[in-house]
Amino acid sequence: MSTSLVWASISVYVVIAIIIAYLSRSGDQKSMAGYFLGERKLNGFVSALSYSATTYSAFMLVGLAGLTYNGGVGAFGFEIIYFMGVSLVAIFGPRFWLVGKKYGYVTPSEMLGDRYQSKWVAIVTAISSCLFLIPYSAVQLTGIGYLLAGVTDGAIPFTTGVVIATVLAIVFSYIAGIRSVAWTDSLQSLLMITTSTIVVIVIILHLGGIGGFFDAIEARDPQALAVPGNGFFNFWTFLGLTIPWFFFSISNPQVSQRLFMPASLKSMRHMLLGFLVFGFIYTIVSVVWGFSASVLFPDLENADLATPTLLSSDVVPPVLGVIVMVGIMAAAISTIDSILLTLSSLFSRDVYRNMTDKADDSKQLMVGKLVIPVIAVLTFLFAKLELDLIAVLSVAASSGLIVVVPAIIGSFFWKKGTAAGAISSVVLSSLLVIWVEATDGLLFGLKSGIWGLLSSSLLFIAVSLVTKAPKQKAEEFTQYVRQNMRSSRS
């Protein structure tokens, strides 16, 4: 790919995105709920696109294509199980939204802390999110570094790519908080869904239409169309990969915080359905890319090169290839800036506020804004260091975040849940997940995510049963949800 073409496209993207970020500046920017939640007034369309952009990082178009390249159709099944898990939004979304408005929650950890009546629940869940999400963001950054270096044959060095991404993530978060993030996310989603679908059409036509496409896969390796196929996706691997991702929509704070933001439940509905349609198309696109690369370039050393190789090949017109490449970079940035905002709100709301006496709303916001670049720089440093532990934590991110799921489910559906149950399940299970990932990723043949879910569920239930639940709060909280669920959707 020509380096000047890549630079030109990046410049155009940056200029348009910054203009959009500036245009998004409206309403209250001076309160926590204004800056981090857009005053709980996001419309359905922007919510849907932004939710999609935040969820689908660069992982999707590089990683999922790579998984398909290596393991065949099992990669499609893996992503579809995740996709089914987004249905949890249909159950938990309105509940988060209702209590968020009533009690003024800004973060999911704050909700847990209040529900279980313990600031330590908020502090512990906030810190555990930071522990897993900072390395996860660092890996997104390194992804951009490798992608730009890869498609330009090193003309854009790794560090340059990482610096560009870090700076842009900070800028997009700073201009107007969640509003600028949501609007730049929307730009990115629209650009990606359009161009990546065009790439799919171009490739399929090149391979002789849909029939020709499937014939080509079958001719190369028929096992690619079945599971376990070549063995890559044996059942236990499939289960271990899918379980943490199934719960992604409530376990990951950068997406569960989105459940506080829509202007109404109708907007949330548009967010949910819009995301599902978007996600279905995007999943098929990524999988088709992976299959196509396996047919056209069967001998790649590294499956993560499937996407860059495909985009810089003769099959895809150069301008289209460059646009999609910039789109992938934007996809990674849109994931990082959302995580940056969420983590800074977790830090200021749940750690800083609970540790000091006089932290009013404006002080929290000030701390939150100060922390954004600090977290970004930490992420950048992690990305540069490429330590083994970071790789472990980022792989463990989806499994590590699953440990908060029992406490979240319990807050709405189990009045006997307690703070001690929540804290012990999160702390001990996080340690277990890290330990399993740091050894060989398997314990008795099962992946860390399965252990994380089992151990956190057992601990949450067992410890809750022997400790005292905050009865009054539990009653008030669940009663409020029950009444309003009835009236809002009879």
Binding site: G74, G77, I80, A90, A226, V227, S264, L265, F280
Partner: protein
């Protein structure tokens, strides 16, 4: 959970179960587009429909 959530929640749970069960139990030897690829696509579309009904009466009260 209200009645509607219980019904559609159960439908989604069954779909998720089938998403694991059918491809691994019955389609391991079907190396065609109408094997696992098709079944996962169909299940995904059913899930979209289930979510459509689950969220049907969500109001626009702010």
């Amino acid at each position: 959970m209200n009645q509607k959530e219980k019904i559609w929640g159960l439908v989604i749970l069954i779909i998720v179960f089938l998403g694991y069960f059918i491809p691994y139990a019955f389609l391991s030897n079907v190396t065609k587009w109408y094997g696992s690829f098709l079944i996962w696509s169909i299940l995904a579309i059913i899930v979209i429909i289930a979510n459509y009904f689950l969220s049907k009466n969500w109001g626009d009260e702010e």
